[in-house]
Symmetry: C2
Subunit: 404 residues, 2 copies
């Protein structure tokens, strides 16, 4: 028999956690058990959830909690993410202090998934950059700007040598810059820069609007030359990402934005862990690149949670391509050595203010990051490298500070 296993952390000052675990295992599967006649139990056994483990602990603050693992028979639910989430956390999410902390997917379940179409390797192949960390920049302000302004911003960013440029996630379909025109204009700008510098840029256009039109929007963007897409996954559900990612006609990388994720992960008592939300589920649904709040910058996530997301995005346990980790928010060149120490080279350095806020503008901002990456890879300190005539980096370090 085949099961998907969910792990939970439950807080309760006096609950019998073994009883709670068993009530979940029965209540979320066959409904009732001990009352069933023996013959019925026989036929229902293959649908019965199973308690795998119950570990009761006390926190440093004296709070009593348990880590509980429950196995759910694959026979009970269809192989899609909505069915899995409803099965393992639907009703019980509302039953006291309980947080979904991990998932283990069965081979049966995973058979319905193919994961990222490109993944780290595929994105590297498209860009022709086999090893070094990639560099991405985000449009600064986008709302209310017309195509000329967006193109100007795009060109400035691209000239700074970034590898990817992404739309702001709050740029929705609008009259000034509808996706097909935006993509066409930015692709032209990208081609112009490439003709000048030889450097290719991926531009992730934000896919927005009504759910049942997203595929059409994606194809419109592709017809206009899109070479990547951005999706606010949590506003649409993981299954939409899955459906887009497995569509053979959508043959460009998809970047998952963590927008709204803070509604789920920060409480220790409720919700879903960031490593499940932004790690496991994004990867099985097929995100090639996954953004998440970094532990370094302005929107802070604890370091161990960040590492747990990364772990899930590149873990060999899942039989899929790796998703590119993109720790985001508040990143400036001085943080590059720290990011590479934590993430290794399989990371995308992603900055908005840290590029646009450079004293000499966005192109210099991109160059400062490139220099910081070069320095870190060469094992040279940023300060030394800056002193060796890399003035864009020097200015960035003066403004934002260096390694912490």
């Amino acid at each position: 028999m085949s099961y998907c296993i969910a792990s939970y952390r439950c807080y309760d000052s006096k609950a019998d956690f073994h009883k709670k675990a068993s009530s979940i295992a029965i209540g979320m599967t066959v409904g009732s058990w001990t009352e069933l006649p023996a013959a019925k139990q026989q036929s229902m056994k293959k649908h019965l959830g199973e308690v795998i483990s119950v570990d009761v602990h006390e926190s440093e603050q004296g709070e009593r909690y348990a880590d509980i693992q429950i196995a759910y028979p694959d026979a009970n639910f269809s192989s899609d993410i909505p069915a899995l989430l409803i099965t393992v956390f639907g009703k019980i999410s509302m039953d006291g202090q309980i947080k979904l902390t991990n998932l283990q997917f069965s081979d049966t379940f995973l058979k319905a998934f193919t994961g990222p179409k490109f993944g780290i390797e595929g994105v590297r192949r498209i860009l022709g950059i086999p090893e070094r960390p990639l560099l991405m920049s985000i449009f600064k302000s986008v709302i209310g700007h017309d195509l000329d302004e967006l193109t100007r911003q795009f060109t400035a960013q691209a000239l700074g040598g970034v590898d990817l440029i992404k739309d702001d996630e709050i740029l929705f379909e609008n009259d000034l810059t509808p996706i097909e025109k935006r993509v066409a204009a930015c692709r032209k700008a990208a081609d112009d820069v490439q003709a000048q510098t030889g450097k290719k840029v991926l531009y992730a256009a934000n896919l927005t609007g009504h759910t049942f039109h997203l595929k059409e929007q994606a194809k419109k963007a592709i017809d206009s030359g899109a070479n990547a897409l951005l999706l606010n996954v949590l506003a649409y559900g993981y299954d939409v990402l899955h459906e887009l990612a497995r569509d053979p006609e959508i043959n460009i990388p998809i970047m998952a934005h963590p927008s709204l994720a803070g509604a789920y992960y920060p409480s220790p008592y409720y919700g879903i862990s960031a490593s499940v939300l932004l790690g496991q589920l994004m990867r099985i649904a097929g995100a090639d690149l996954v953004l998440f709040p970094s532990p370094y910058g302005s929107v802070v996530m604890p370091k161990e949670e960040n590492m747990a997301i990364r772990e899930q995005l590149v873990s060999p346990e899942l039989p899929f391509r790796h998703s590119f980790p993109v720790p985001s928010a508040g990143i400036h060149p001085g943080l590059v050595p720290l990011i590479l120490k934590d993430f290794g080279n399989e990371v995308i350095i992603n900055a908005g203010g840290g590029i646009h806020g450079h004293p000499e503008g966005a192109s210099a901002g991109g160059k400062a990051f490139q220099q910081a990456i070069d320095a870190a890879l060469a094992g040279t300190s940023l300060a030394d490298y800056a002193a060796q005539g890399h003035h864009e980096l020097r200015q960035a370090l003066e403004l934002w500070g260096g390694e912490r």
Copy 2:
């Protein structure tokens, strides 16, 4: 100019909440403001978010918090729920202790919505029950059961005089009882019961599977005679509910299940309030009936949160039909007077165990509820009414107790 307004509660022991509010208003709209040249400010003003109010408080536990209201120009986002949620709570959900507590929709935004197709009145009209509270029962165990068993359960429930029967939300597409066969079998059972008793029953079939197939599934169910649908809205996103509800070919009531809602609402510090999640958003997206955890039973929600959901489902502030409130979980006949006191007659009494667990079975369980409703409407105490020869009610009261 036209705005949608979001309210937040933010906790922080020392933050300058006015500064925080202003950084949200600017950061989630135009991106930067004070640095902009005056001419640019002029042209961007229509896109700038506005701080409406900042009220700083201290909780009884001595925690410092602020209630903040920000107005977001409609010009910034498309009129759909994903765009609204990303705009008002996308990135900032991840920025410290902040909970989205209320939404005010502009007329411009609401123009893209039509709300429930049937609502309370429409459901009453279909059932031919103009005034009294309705009674719904939930299948007991469904997983692993075949069509015969489901039909047997359906008939027993329908014979108890319930007005609606809903699928369990964990019943997904499966070989034994695929939606079109399940609907056909249950509709036949419903017709048989109606021929016997004259009583009509709505059966809400659970719509599951991949997002982009849901419309097809819905139409398959309708072709098989479905007269209502159930949707795990939070697993698919509100926009999917909206798209189903506004499809003229899906001309039957849609029931919204709160599954997964506990991942968002219970923490005071993070997430989205239940009145937004299960009240405002469900109604504008078009749910005719909305289930939510009751304050009475096994899965408990505080009373004031429950009343806040109800308030949003029937508030005259929204220009839409009212959604039927369905407080659920742990409901037994003894609670009926309490429910009617809190909700009035515009409520659906919904029970699973409280019907199937009746000593004489599901039909007697339904009758006990009917009797409890009759008693409450007549202003008679349940105990007195039970003593007047209503033995199903008497048995229920003996088993589960009476009014609290």
